[in-house]
Amino acid sequence: MLEIGIQTRNAIDDSNPLDGFRALKAAGFSCVDFSLNSYLRNRDLYQFEKNTFFDKSEAELRTYFAPIQAAANEAGIRVHQMHMPYPNYVPDAPKDLNRYLREVVAPKSLRICAFFGCRYIVIHGFKLARFLGSEEEEWEKTREFLEYLAPLAKELGVTMCIENIYTSVGNHIVEGPCCDARKAAERIDAMNEKYGAQVLGFCLDTGHANLVGLDMEDFIRTLGTRLKVLHIHDNDGVADLHQIPYTFTRNRENQPSTDWDGFVKGLRAIGFDGVLNFETAPVLDSFPAELRGQALAFIGEIGAYFASFLQ
């Protein structure tokens, strides 16, 4: 059966990681998606502010993360994928901040990923289409950033995964970078060919796909084996809520308003053999502390349910 994973944000406390990893194991997870983005928050970056976490030397970072890695090992949990802090470029921010994100945060993130023995790191594309005038020109900036990192990724054996993300028009969430599977597939192939290694792959975020009405089955089929990692979560089609699959309905028939059928059908069609990873940290805020264990276990059960269709 496919392995089931979940993000570490809200689940793992750095001061006592073993308890968190044990709870995840007990809930049915064998993998985690390490939320490196929790160490440099996007809301701060958008305010042109940053903390000093990534000022640490690589040796200091390894020292910091060593007990977390040891706890994961002890609990029988594997770090399967990681999320790089984002955004990687802040429009109209001081140049120093963008230089720091590119030259300090991104390479150190790759090294932390490798330190955990993790093969995949998820990276958000730049959101610049409004300013530059087209998705193609926006991608050029992202491509240039990824190619800056590609030699290091190759050296470390890490695959950078671009993710379908969104942007907004007023309060309405619409398609953002990497929402075109055809273009993504071509771009991934081109970069991997150029570097002679799997430096680039794809992360499908089901919640983001639902928000912009992607046909998940077609999307997954188009990506094929370029699809390396998943962010599984649900929402109401309006806001990025990161909730448990099957939570939302829109009509009195109470059918799910997210195309889970298409999702599973797509994974099955491409023979997906990766980890069914959930990005559902907010669920742990929604439920009272007394029910969090059961909520986690329920997410794990849903993962096992999906896996039963994919054997």
């Binding site: 429009p91 109209d92 289409a129 409004r130 300013f131 530059l132 005038g133 087209s134 998705e135 020109e137 969104y166 028009v169 007023g170 309060n171 309405h172 969430i173 619409v174 398609e175 929402c179 075109d180 055809r182 639902n210 928000l211 912009v212 009405g213 992607l214 046909d215 089955e217 077609d218 089929r221 188009t222 089609g237 309006v238 939302f248 309905t249 829109r250 009509n251 028939e253 109470n254 059918q255 799910p256 308003s257 997210t258 195309d259 889970w260 059928d261 298409g262 599973v264 059908k265 099955r268 069609a269 039963s308 269709f309 054997q311």
Partner: protein, 430 residues
């Protein structure tokens, strides 16, 4: 470019004259006849009271440039939905012929999609899902097992064949798919798929019989990158339906009315960028049926004036660059952000002779490669040189120039919807 008013929400089958008069008085010369309003409930035929002849009489001086075929009635079980839908489409083409419309919009037959949603109901052992690949005269179309393309290919070819003598061009359109009340991308939402279908159908019939009508409301419901959709469709695109919604409900609201705070909910920037980029010159259809439904008939004439102005504003924005091409020589009025944006996006292709400004402290300075002159210099312009006002005080500046006796063409330039933007704004204290 033809600017059309949709009859949706304005013209009803019992009293068509009133709505048509309102449309005419607002300034529209062309309508898009949406047959949904004339369809008999649960039937694949039109109302007895709304015969093609009656509608033709009511239209009068207006030109019905486009007809939209109605969908099958929702939540009705048809014995043979394919045949019922085909019959509706054929009836729609007959209406188009009767009223002289050159275009008829027929959405793809989409029931095929719903029959595929069975994987989670079966046992794991029973699941398949092989990709079928159909060759369509050169263009390869990937499709899922129940093969939407194959069924629609037969549908459209039968439609074209049965209406061989009809001259109307058949326009496919983008659709949504309903997942538990949530609209997601349906057939022909993917512009590559849409273009492939149109081209394949035209190859099959050996004529340029098929085209595409892009429904912006549908794009918005699916959160699409509309600019990319338009650029991909390019010369397949015959018509664009302008309608707004909240991204959740399939409504037809007047553009710019679905706002939250200072922002709208539709990517009009992407729409205008895309249409300007492909130099769109087809039909622009205003569909605001749900907005119209909320207004008293007594207020509809005033609403219609706003609809006309709004639609014409889109035409003007889309043709912004086309308008620049009309003139051999141009000068700008204004030496601020709008001038800077002009120079960033159009300055190389349409190089102005100079710019001018009412701020005398700027005279003689250079800005974005242009000399800033006094407005008095405009009196010496050659006759064929147009003045493009790059300042939001359009009307006041136009009056100023006319008072000065400037007889040259005066045009408004606007930078709300530019091909690209600066990240920053320039600020001057004076």
């Amino acid at each position: 470019m033809k600017v059309l008013c949709s009859t949706n929400g304005i013209v009803d089958r019992f009293h068509p004259n009133q709505g048509l008069n309102d449309i005419k008085k607002a300034g529209f010369a062309h309508i898009c006849l949406d047959l949904k309003a004339f369809q008999e409930y649960r039937k694949e035929r039109m109302s007895q009271t709304a015969t093609a002849e009656n509608i033709e009489r009511a239209i009068g001086e207006l030109e019905a440039a486009m007809v939209i075929a109605p969908p099958l009635t929702e939540n009705v079980v048809y014995d043979n939905p394919y045949q019922s839908y085909l019959e509706l489409a054929k009836v729609s083409i007959r209406y188009a012929e009767a009223v002289g419309a050159q275009y008829v919009v027929v959405a793809p037959y989409s029931l095929v999609r719903t029959c595929c949603n069975t994987v989670m109901e079966n046992t794991p052992e029973s699941r398949g899902g092989e990709v079928a690949r159909k060759e369509t005269g050169g263009a390869a179309i990937d499709s899922i097992e129940c093969d939407a393309w194959s069924m629609n290919r037969d549908f459209y070819l039968e439609l074209a064949s049965s209406c061989q003598n009809a001259s109307a061009r058949i326009l496919l359109t983008n659709t949504c798919r309903d997942i538990g009340g949530h609209k997601i991308r349906g057939l022909c939402s993917d512009a590559v798929e849409a273009r492939t279908w149109v081209e394949a159908l035209n190859r099959e019939v050996g004529l340029n019989r098929f085209g595409f009508c892009l429904d912006i409301g549908t794009c918005n419901l699916c959160g699409q990158n509309i600019q990319d959709v338009i650029i991909t469709l390019d010369d397949c695109l015959d018509a664009v339906i302008l309608r707004e919604n909240d991204g959740i409900h399939d409504l037809s609201l007047l553009p710019f009315t679905q706002t939250a705070g200072a922002s709208g909910g539709t990517d009009w920037l992407g729409v205008i960028r895309g249409l300007r980029q492909i130099a769109f010159d087809g039909m622009l259809v205003a569909d605001f049926g749900d907005t119209a439904s909320g207004f008293s008939p007594l207020l509809k004439p005033q609403l219609m004036q706003l609809v006309w102005s709004t639609t014409d504003y889109f035409r003007w924005q889309i043709q912004m660059e086309t308008n620049l091409k009309k003139y051999e020589k141009i000068v700008l009025f204004g030496a601020g952000n709008m001038c800077r944006n002009f120079m960033k996006c159009y300055g190389d292709t349409y190089k102005p002779l100079f710019t001018c400004d009412n701020n005398s402290r700027l005279w003689g300075q250079e800005f974005c490669g242009l000399e800033i002159k006094s407005p008095e210099e405009l009196k010496n312009l050659p006759e064929d040189c147009a003045v493009f006002i790059c300042n939001v005080y359009y009307r006041e500046i136009e009056q100023q120039l006319r008072r000065m006796g400037i007889a040259n063409p005066i045009e408004y330039f606007n930078d709300e919807y530019m091909p690209s933007f600066y990240v920053d704004r320039i600020e001057r204290n004076d």
